[in-house]
Structures are given as structure tokens and as C-alpha cells.
């Protein structure tokens, strides 16, 4: 199996206190990795470090076998950040314009958008069933619809790996079910590797094939999602109230 991302002994702190302590994580081709953990445990920070938005104070990141600073093939990566929908809602951009933006580095600087690019945009919107909204202003959509648009933007390049930071927040239950169905399709049929941060622990443990839990700045990773083991880990991180949560599904 090909290793797509490798986090090696990474330490990071925003000011003095370390948010990540010697984190190690390998992500392989075809993985559907769920990352859970309490608020403030460093999940978003870890994603940002993998994407070179933040620099680790110690350790290194490899992306597709290259040191992250030498990695140039950003079209292979899709990212929907946490609270993607908290942008300036007065921004005068249509759904189409937003999704097309992720094609820009493929189109190249100084070059215009062509018809084949428009078709790619349309296809990405079709995947999330938002193609009918392509001419709408992004600020005039509901939060869940906006979230779908950002997922389409992340998909438009046909990425090999998709990073999603709490993608189902603010999405109704039906759409959430649809969303998880879509993720399974992307992972199983289109062979896209998925890294998803989420608080839906019940759903996550059911869907993913790999599972990671952050707590106390450390990361505990497991390849299989054998139920008992996960429950033990979650108990350690969240405390005893975890039992209730995990038995809900």
C-alpha cells in the first residue's frame, strides 16, 4: 500500500504550551481515517500541519513521499476546513465561481477558464447534488448548502486525498446520511483517501476503516475498528460518559 501522508514526531504549540506532542501518523492510499477527540485536543491543528498551513516546531511531514516544503502537486489534495461556511456572506460570488477557483492552479496563471473546466465544475456540483444552484450567490444559500458547495470545491480537481474538518456540522440528519453515503462512494468507488475530523463518534466508528483519537496532545491510532478497543480508548480520552455515546447507534 502506498503511503500518502506521513507525520513524523511532530511537535507544535501556538504560544508556549504544546498542542501536539510527538505525534506520529501514517495515512495510506484507500484509507478512510476518522479523527475524533474532545474540543481543543488539536485535531484541526494536526490537519493544518499536514497541509503546511502551520509549521511544526519539531518533526516533519511527508506528502506523497516528498517533504511538505518541496511538495507542489496541490491538485491531488482537497480540503474543507472547519467552519468553511463562516466566510464574508456579502462576498459577490456565485457557486460556480467558488468551485472553479480550485481549478486555477491547474489552469495556470494568466490563462482563462474554458468550457472543459466548466464541465468539471458542473460534475463536481452534481456529486453533491447542487448543480441547480450554480448561478446562485454563495451568500444566499443555507449553511448546509454552502457546506456542500465547499465539498464540491474540494472535489473539483479529482483529488487523491480529501481532508474534511467537521464537515457535517450544521447539516440536517437526512443530508448527513446522504453525506456519509457520498463519502463511502468516494472512498470505495472513486478510490479517494479520506481524512475526516468529526464529533459524530457513533457514525465515525461505523463507517471508517481507520480510526484515530486525539487527547491530551497525544494521538492514539488504530488500524482496525474493533469495537471494544475503540471504546477503551475513547473512555481514556473522554471519560466514562463515553459509554452512553457509543451505544447510541
Amino acid at each position: 500500500m502506498k503511503k500518502l501522508v506521513s507525520v513524523k514526531d511532530v511537535c507544535f504549540g501556538y504560544e508556549n504550551e504544546l498542542v501536539l506532542k510527538n505525534v506520529n501518523l501514517d495515512i495510506y492510499e484507500g484509507d478512510y481515517l476518522g479523527i475524533v477527540g474532545p474540543n481543543g485536543s488539536g485535531k484541526s491543528t494536526l490537519i493544518k500541519i499536514m497541509l503546511n498551513i502551520l509549521k511544526p516546531s519539531k518533526g516533519s511531514i511527508e506528502m506523497f513521499g516528498k517533504n511538505i516544503d518541496d511538495f507542489r502537486d496541490w491538485g491531488k489534495i482537497g480540503y474543507v476546513r472547519q467552519k468553511a461556511t463562516s466566510f464574508n456572506t456579502g462576498f459577490p460570488a456565485t457557486v460556480e465561481e467558488i468551485v472553479a477557483a480550485n481549478l486555477f492552479s491547474r489552469i495556470g496563471i494568466f490563462k482563462p477558464i474554458t468550457r472543459s473546466h466548466r464541465e468539471m465544475v458542473y460534475k463536481a456540483l452534481e456529486i453533491v447534488e447542487m448543480e441547480k444552484f450554480n448561478r446562485k450567490l454563495i451568500g444566499n444559500l443555507s449553511g448546509g448548502q454552502q457546506q456542500k458547495v465547499f465539498i464540491a470545491r474540494a472535489l473539483v480537481n479529482s483529488p487523491e486525498i480529501l481532508f474534511l474538518d467537521e464537515p457535517t456540522v450544521g447539516i440536517d440528519l437526512d443530508s448527513q446520511r446522504e453525506f456519509y453515503g457520498l463519502m463511502e462512494k468516494l472512498n470505495k468507488e472513486m478510490h479517494i483517501t479520506i481524512v475526516m475530523v468529526s464529533h459524530d463518534i457513533g457514525v465515525i466508528t461505523e463507517k471508517v476503516n481507520r480510526f484515530a483519537c486525539m487527547g491530551d496532545s497525544r494521538l492514539i491510532c488504530h488500524t482496525n475498528n474493533s469495537h471494544l478497543e475503540i471504546t477503551d480508548i475513547l473512555k481514556e480520552v473522554y471519560g466514562d460518559k463515553m459509554n452512553l455515546l457509543i451505544h447510541r447507534h
Binding site: 497541509l51 503546511n52 498551513i53 507542489r72 502537486d73 496541490w74 491538485g75 489534495i77 480540503y79 476546513r81 466566510f87 464574508n88 456579502g90 462576498f91 459577490p92 460570488a93 456565485t94 465561481e97 467558488i98 472553479a100 477557483a101 480550485n102 486555477f104 492552479s105 489552469i107 496563471i109 494568466f110 482563462p112 477558464i113 448561478r135 450567490l137 470545491r153 480537481n157
Partner: protein, 269 residues
């Protein structure tokens, strides 16, 4: 009306006006959407100190203003990167320094006959052919570059972090963009004056944002509104002997109010 065009200065003023009428809103839309409007103001004050330095030292003032404002732009970009939380403070400091240097130099040069009023508020009668060459040459070059980088500038304005991950060279484009702001301000100085340049960058954009249905539309519409204000402003200011910058900006404010009023009426019905 046509007889106006017989005057050389009028031809120059209109030509220059048309170019800055494209430039200002085209740059302004990114300034507004990135909430960087204050940068325009502070760079224009630095440009004024460049003009003063040019007059005192006997160097062509617009060239000096260009050098000053581009250097200040690079300074702001450095400060913006280093002290992200205090970026506004850095901009305010540069603004104050700019106006301070300008005032000191101008008072030092008070024996020289300076058309200060023209630089502050714009004066179409003073557009010389050397200014004209600079404005058309550099102006057209900037318009072309911005058009070529439009999609990248759009992405950065909407989502800087996303743009970086999508592989857009955000740092280089930001640097390029701030230098272009400085150049636009210098070029616009003759027509609208330093005190009003940033208004011409912001007000037509504010009007077009009220009604635009896409980013492309917002950009095109803001240029149309700016051109309307600039061309009619130049003509009116000639006949009524008014400061051109003030007239242009007032016209754009009137258009803005009309658009807001129109939108209000449409929403009620």
C-alpha cells in the same frame, strides 16, 4: 460638447480619466472585499510626501510619488506579515508618517509655487503630456496584468488559506498586488487628488456590490459606475470650474445613493 475635445488639456484629462476609471474600481473591489481599504488611504498620503520631495529636490513629482508609495507598500506588506494582529496600527503609522513628511517638506518649500490644492483634490488643467504618457503607459500595463491575474486575486480575496492549499502562489501575488495599489494611487493623483483616490476605489464598488449577481458582474458594474462618475465629473468640473476630484467622487456617491434607493424600492414591491 464636442468643442471640449479641441482642447489638448481636455483630451489628456479625459484619456487619463478613462484609464483611472478602469483601474481604481478594478483594484478597489479587492481592497473592499479583503477589508484593506485603509491601505489605499495610507499609500495616497505617502504618495503626497513623494510629490513634496519631488518638488523640493526638483525631480519629476509623479515619479518621486511612485517611488515613495511603492516603497511604503512593500513596508506595509512586511509589517502586515510580521504583526498580523497589529496590521491596522502599522498602516496608521505609515499614513501619519506620510502626511507628516509631506507637510514638513511643503512648508520648507513654501517659496516655490506649488499647486498643492491640485495634488490634494485633483485638477484636470494640470495634466501635462508627461503625466499623460506615464498614466497611459503604466495604466494599460497594470490593467492587463490585473486582468491576467484576476482569477487568482479573486480566490485570494475569497479565501486566502484555500488559495494557498490550491497551489496559488499567494505570497508573490500579494506582493505584486500591493505594489499595483501604490502605482494606481500615484497615477490617479492628478485627476482625483490624493485625498479622494481611495474614495474612487471604494464607492463605485460599494454601489455595484448592492446589485451584482456574480463576481464578474460586480467587477464590470463597478467599472461602469466609476467611468460614469469620472467622465461626467471631468466635464462638469470644467464648465463649473470645480475641483475635478471632488466632483467625481460626489457623483459616485450620488450613484451609490440612487442604487441603494432603487434596491430598497425593488425589495418593497
Amino acid at each position: 460638447m464636442l468643442e471640449l475635445l479641441q482642447y489638448g488639456f481636455m483630451q489628456r484629462a479625459l484619456m487619463a480619466g478613462i484609464i483611472i476609471g478602469i483601474l481604481c474600481p478594478l483594484i478597489g473591489i479587492f481592497l473592499v472585499l479583503r477589508r484593506m481599504s485603509l491601505i489605499g488611504d495610507s499609500l495616497s498620503h505617502v504618495a503626497l510626501s513623494g510629490v513634496a520631495a519631488g518638488i523640493v529636490s526638483g525631480v519629476y513629482p509623479l515619479a518621486m510619488a511612485l517611488v515613495f508609495s511603492v516603497l511604503a507598500a512593500l513596508g506595509i506588506e512586511q509589517l502586515r506579515k510580521k504583526y498580523e494582529e497589529y496590521a491596522e496600527l502599522a498602516i496608521a503609522i505609515i499614513l501619519s508618517a506620510g502626511i507628516g513628511i509631506a507637510v514638513v517638506l511643503i512648508s520648507y518649500a513654501k517659496s516655490i509655487n506649488v499647486d498643492l490644492f491640485g495634488y490634494l483634490f485633483g485638477n484636470i488643467l494640470t495634466v501635462r503630456s508627461s503625466d499623460m504618457r506615464l498614466i497611459t503607459g503604466l495604466g494599460i500595463l497594470i490593467i492587463m496584468f490585473v486582468k491576467l491575474l484576476y482569477k487568482e486575486l479573486f480566490y485570494i480575496a475569497f479565501d486566502e488559506e484555500g488559495a494557498r492549499i490550491a497551489g496559488i502562489p499567494v505570497k508573490r501575488i500579494n506582493l505584486f498586488f500591493i505594489v499595483i495599489i501604490a502605482m494606481t494611487i500615484t497615477l490617479s493623483m492628478r485627476i482625483v487628488g490624493v485625498l479622494l483616490v481611495s474614495s474612487l476605489m471604494v464607492i463605485p464598488v460599494a454601489a455595484s456590490l448592492q446589485v451584482a449577481k456574480s463576481f464578474k458582474q460586480a467587477a464590470l458594474l463597478s467599472v461602469v459606475i466609476a467611468e460614469l462618475s469620472v467622465v461626467s465629473g471631468i466635464i462638469i468640473s470644467y464648465y463649473m470650474e470645480l475641483a475635478s476630484g471632488g466632483t467625481i467622487v460626489l457623483l459616485s456617491v450620488i450613484i451609490l445613493l440612487l442604487v441603494i434607493g432603487f434596491k430598497g424600492v425593488m425589495q418593497k414591491t
